[in-house]
Amino acid sequence: MQRETSQTTIPFWRDERVLKVLGQIAFVVLVFIFFSFIFQNMKAGLAKQGITLSLNFIRGVSGFDIAETLFPYDRSSTYLQAYQIGLLNTLLVSVVGIFFATILGVILGVARLSTNFIINRLAAFYLELIRNLSLLVFLIFWYLGVFLKLPKVKEAIIWPGDIFLSNRGVGIPWGIPTASFPTFRLILLFGFFLALAVFFSLRAYSQRTGRAPLTLLWTFLTFVVVALLGWVILPEKPLMIDLPRVEGLRLTGGKILTPEFMALTSGLTLYTAAFIGEVVRAGIQSVSKGQVEAARALGLNGFQTLRLVVFPQALRVIVPPLTSQYLNLIKNSSLAISVGYPDVFYVSNTIQNQTGRAVEMIGMVMLTYLAFSLITSLLMNWYNKKIRLVER
């Protein structure tokens, strides 16, 4: 009995399953050894130059001012707070950039395929021109060539709607919350949930009947109607409109968008939009012509064909490259330093210079961009999975 089993059992060093596991373990160990070697090497190298790694400095008083801050900050704030300011600024530029670049990109992509000769050529010209520029040059053009060329504060151009254009920034009217704002916020929240309800019921309706209502439009309209109703019925207006004005040396009131912010967001948006335009065009062209012809044969008009037949199929091709365009935009926002906009890289650069903590700051910045990119990737992959062709 004993002998028999020992003969039928394969010794573990020849068992394929065991070997596979062992191989993996060995690989992980090797990787670990490799990285710890590199880390030790770095530590030894730094020690040789008398540099020790520590993050203690991050709680020290920064001592410098930052121009654009989304929460209160002054020279007595800590380096960490300065870093967070930069982080939020990067986030702001990325979100604004992605939002507008997507809209403009889709328009460009569709225009590029338009049968109207002029629209088609104009879009093609724009795409070819922008895609062949260097982004850094483009940003500096927008900064030195456009926004700093605007007139002085005292001679600011005033556009209808109280929009001030000057070389100290673009001033736009902005709302200041009043006493009834908290109530209004609740109404907005209600509107949001109502809009969600509309969205899901319309989708259920669509799945049940096979019809295709304009789900997003109705959802959006619901929210807007609730918001407007709230605005009208509240006795006191929830937001007081504050107009920009010139005061001494500066533009104040309303919301002042600095030339740095304007140059960076316009540059990033217009640049990335060109690439998104090409992605959209490629996506649309990947849908076979037969699909369009079939849709037309069924009596769908041009817009319906795009919305119901072409786009749903094109999206599958569009989303993966679109994700990398979004990632590009986020990472390219680090060029903010060239136009003096205090994003996370810029602030970390300043901190690094004032403290001499180059390794720590570069490490933090790398982790930050990694985190931003991974989050974006996760969101886009989730979306991609949702719209993917369900194969049977």
Partner: protein, 376 residues
């Protein structure tokens, strides 16, 4: 694989969020003293650890490296006329640049055996720490933090400066208080950036900084009218004003916001190199004091009777050997580059567009601060 990335991502985000929370939880520094005290403690704990554990580059290594390489690598500015600038012929020129030439003359007897490497304000200390450059001669202000945490030693002050403010002549601004609500252009990674915040906070003047990465973009933004004023060391303002479109349209305010002693900087750990760099400065000072110039140095060397002059020029004794150099090191500096006055006048003198009166940068016998220890 995808999952691993997802988990990593979440971890990274979580750590950032935690860090952010930690930051928010600390009491605002306006409730201040405690924070400052805590910081001091941290520094004292950390600082002694590094020199104790570490055996840094070590005595004599830098000179050996430089000699083996056959040239000196000097980190300089390339954007401030009069101090460190690339001229129309593509040559580096300027006060700080000439110091590098003097050092090369002391080591090799040849002022051309130096490679100039332009470094920005933000990267200069890293470049020095990492050994990319042998010495930093780039209008750098001597401060305590730079002398300790940034791992460098200031050799000696070669130029006494102060921070100033430049405004357009037609702006009507005459004092710092007039800048209330204004925007001020400043370069990042500089002591001026910190001084500006300090001075304006103590005056209670609110302003918006517009901060740029290098001198070129700072002054480009200023001349485009982005700012009401631009601030940097007064010497820098004088120098940069010469390259603005209309130099007469800008005035430098009659205020000095800080002390800015500028000078070359070397890495921690090599005292021999520090000595060579320092005594190169003293040779420049003393040569002016003794009236030795590049024109008369040969004559002085042949006829000198004063023992100190003879020691300095290597006629008597072996001071050069003590530094690890040859005995004619100081002679070479004076013969090939000149004395302090010659270097000053060549770059910042009355005949140059970047004229700056000598002021404090004069010998102590002429009412200035330049004073060299004896050559003995």
């Amino acid at each position: 694989m995808r999952k691993i990335f997802a988990i990593m991502g979440i971890l990274v985000v979580a750590s950032l969020v935690l860090a952010a929370c930690g930051g928010a939880a600390t009491p605002a520094p306006s409730g201040g003293e405690t924070v400052t005290v805590k910081e001091t403690v941290v520094v004292t704990v950390v600082a002694p650890a590094s020199p104790a554990v570490v055996a840094p580059t070590g005595y004599g290594v830098t000179l050996e490296t430089v000699k083996a390489r056959g040239k000196l690598i000097c980190g300089v500015n390339s954007q401030v006329p009069g101090f460190g600038y690339v001229d129309a012929n593509g040559n580096f020129s300027g006060f700080d640049v000439d110091y590098c030439r003097a050092l090369a003359a002391a080591i090799f007897g040849d002022p051309t055996k130096v490679e100039f490497r332009p470094v920005t304000a933000a990267e200069r200390f890293t470049a020095l720490q990492s050994g990319e450059i042998d010495i930093l001669s780039r209008n750098t202000t001597w401060t305590l933090v730079r002398d300790t945490e940034l791992g460098g030693n200031f050799v000696h002050t070669t130029f006494y400066d102060g921070q100033g403010m430049m405004v357009p002549a037609d702006s009507g601004i005459t004092t710092l208080q007039d800048l209330e609500g204004g925007t001020i252009c400043v370069q990042t990674g500089t002591t001026t950036e910190l001084n500006l915040a300090d001075v304006m906070a103590s005056l209670g003047v609110s302003y918006t900084p517009a901060v740029f990465e290098d001198a070129d973009s700072t002054f480009a933004a200023y001349s485009e009218g982005r700012c009401d004023a631009v601030t940097t060391d007064k010497s820098g303002l004088v120098a940069r004003r010469t390259v603005l479109a209309d130099p007469t349209a800008h005035v430098i305010l009659d205020v000095t916001m800080s002390k800015e002693p500028l000078g070359p900087m070397v890495r921690h750990g090599d005292d021999q190199w520090f000595d060579i760099a320092q005594w190169t400065v003293f040779a420049l000072f003393s040569a002016e004091e003794f009236g030795i110039t590049s024109a008369n140095v040969d004559e002085v060397k042949a006829t000198a009777t004063a023992p100190e002059v003879k020691r300095m020029l290597g006629v008597e004794g072996d001071l050069g050997l003590k530094l690890g150099l040859t005995n004619d090191w100081a002679y070479n500096i004076i013969k090939l580059v000149g004395n302090y006055e010659e270097v000053y006048n060549r770059n910042l003198g009355p005949d140059t567009p970047t004229y700056i009166p000598r002021g404090l940068n004069n010998l102590y016998i002429n009412g200035g601060l330049l004073y060299a220890p004896p050559f003995r």
